[in-house]
Amino acid sequence: MTTTGDVQAPSSGRATPGGPRPRRRRSTGIGRVSTPVALLWLAPAIALIVGVVLFPAVMLFRASRSEYSITGLYLGSAGWENYSKVLSYPDLPVVLKNTLVWVVAVVAFTIVISLALAQLLVKDFPGRRFVRWAVIVPWAASLVITSQLFVLLYDYNYGLVNHVLLGLHVIDTPISFLGDDRFTMASMVVVGVFVSLPFTTFVFIAGLNAIPTDVMEAAEVDGASPWQRWRRITLPLLRPAMLIATVLNTIYVFNSFPIIYTLNDRNPGFGHDTLITFMYKLAFKSQEKDVGMSAATGVINVLIILVVVLVYLKVVNWREETR
């Protein structure tokens, strides 16, 4: 192994992105290229992003600074007024609290459970393929339909969840999972975790599969216990997969619309809404029916996600990770 330039790697043995080998290797130089050459390889991706996303994003921002009538007609510029109206909206604190609970709960449970699931699904056992197919189903099914399915399952009168719990004598009277304030958010989080598990689990499976078997065998030969092997080898080498799964899952959960919109459909007001359903209701379902305020909420939502992701990348030391 030669060492050419660019040596920043402390020998902490942390993983490189995606995986399998300790940091030592990174001290050799990765090829340095000029910006024009690099741009050539990035051009298709940049063209796609600029071509599709840029214009609608600019439109969103412009709408957030415009005034609209209740029927959606453009009335003129509004400056930052939509933002101040949203920020002083009486229900905003509740919506922000819901968003926080929703995102933290769904992401945390999803990551922990998927780690265990992935660990199980990389083992060799009869019927493994079938179990992997089963795990992909909540992902493969349309989220809108799954949400409607859970509305039926949770129902007070004809829902199977109550039926089963009553039959097992866990409860004496049915629970109004989606109507009772004590249960609504928890019931939605269960569905959120359920549909998020396949994605993170398969990211972890791919990550686990990229860990070279010789590293594990060496540790075994050296007498490391299973827990030590997991803590000292698997987990550090899984860091990049963890990073991708956590960051993207956080973004998707922030922007998750169908579950909350469908399961919370019958409750009035904004008591269980997150920013994204709040945004939609502002434009189409509230008294205001204000497209400008809705667009301002959309921009605020993006800014919050951006801050959260940047803080997360900072905490996990992403800059080190991509050297």
């Binding site: 000029s34 009869p126 169908p258």
Partner: protein
């Protein structure tokens, strides 16, 4: 591959996992075989009171169904192909080369994911209206591709970075150029990442709803997710047909997954640097 010392325990745990993941969808299958009113009857029963086997024939016999299926397939396969072709060079370049703006590029890609499609749909409509691309497969293919690019680039970036430099150095000594390096050496080693990206993009495009609802106005050009809406409306509630159609819609995804799942097993780099 991890060997296990307690195969029975593992198999039992896995069976429990499979049951938990399938249970809600088993209910969906059973609901598709009930009469529509039986779906909402108190008290509920696990099995349909009347088995209504012809729901699936009704849905498949609906003249619109083949069109919807075709649209879904074209959009999902098209978007997946675009994403993979666009993500590979970008991920390879950012993972194996140094240049100014490398991290910025990865961040900008990530930022595109932060815009909820719901909030951009008005602008997307305007954009494709100006381009005369309303009701075209192309509009939905590139939209789905653009919105799902981030995951593919990030996961492939991770996999490319993890390939030991010795592999690249050996190939360089043998006189392999940058493109040959990518195609012959790197891509085979990142197969698990490619498979994950493929599954991810296909599923995301397959289930995309809001943009398709807005851009596809012709009934014949709607994808399955949008077409299904006509089964449960304010006027008629055919829950049985909605659920039957949803069950059918899961099948192509599981088939795709079954075809490429075996490549999720990587471990190819094991022994390649001895």
């Amino acid at each position: 591959m991890t060997r296990t010392r307690r195969p029975r325990l593992v198999a039992f745990g896995a069976a429990v996992v499979a049951v938990v993941f399938l249970a809600p969808y088993l209910v969906m299958v059973l609901d598709s075989l009930r009469t529509s009113t039986d779906v909402k009857t108190t008290p509920p029963s696990f099995l349909p009171r009347v088995w209504q086997w012809d729901t699936y024939a009704t849905v498949l016999g609906d003249g619109r169904f083949p069109h919807w299926l075709f649209t879904s397939l074209v959009i999902s396969l098209g978007a997946t192909a675009v994403v993979i072709l666009v993500a590979i060079p970008a991920a390879f370049m950012t993972a194996r080369h140094h240049f100014p703006g490398r991290r910025l590029f990865l961040l900008v890609v990530l930022i595109t994911q932060m815009f909820a499609p719901t909030s951009l749909v008005v602008g997307l409509y305007r954009q494709f209206f100006e381009l005369n691309m309303i009701n075209t497969y192309g509009a939905l293919i590139i939209t789905n591709a653009a919105f799902n690019l981030a995951f593919a680039i990030w996961i492939l970036h991770g996999f490319f970075s993890s390939i030991p430099l010795e592999v690249e150095e050996a190939a360089a000594l043998d006189g392999v150029g940058r493109f040959g390096m990518l195609r012959r050496i790197m891509l085979p080693l990142t197969l698990p990442g490619l498979v994950t990206a493929t599954i991810f993009t296909f599923i995301a495009a397959w289930n995309e709803y809001v943009v398709a609802l807005t851009l596809m106005i012709d009934d014949d050009k709607k994808p399955l997710t949008v077409g299904f809406r006509s089964y449960v409306t304010g006027y008629e509630q055919n829950w049985d047909q909605l659920f039957a159609a949803s069950v059918i819609a899961v099948v192509p995804v599981v088939i795709l997954f079954a075809l490429i799942e075996k490549h999720l097993v990587g471990g190819l780099t094991a022994g390649s640097v001895k």
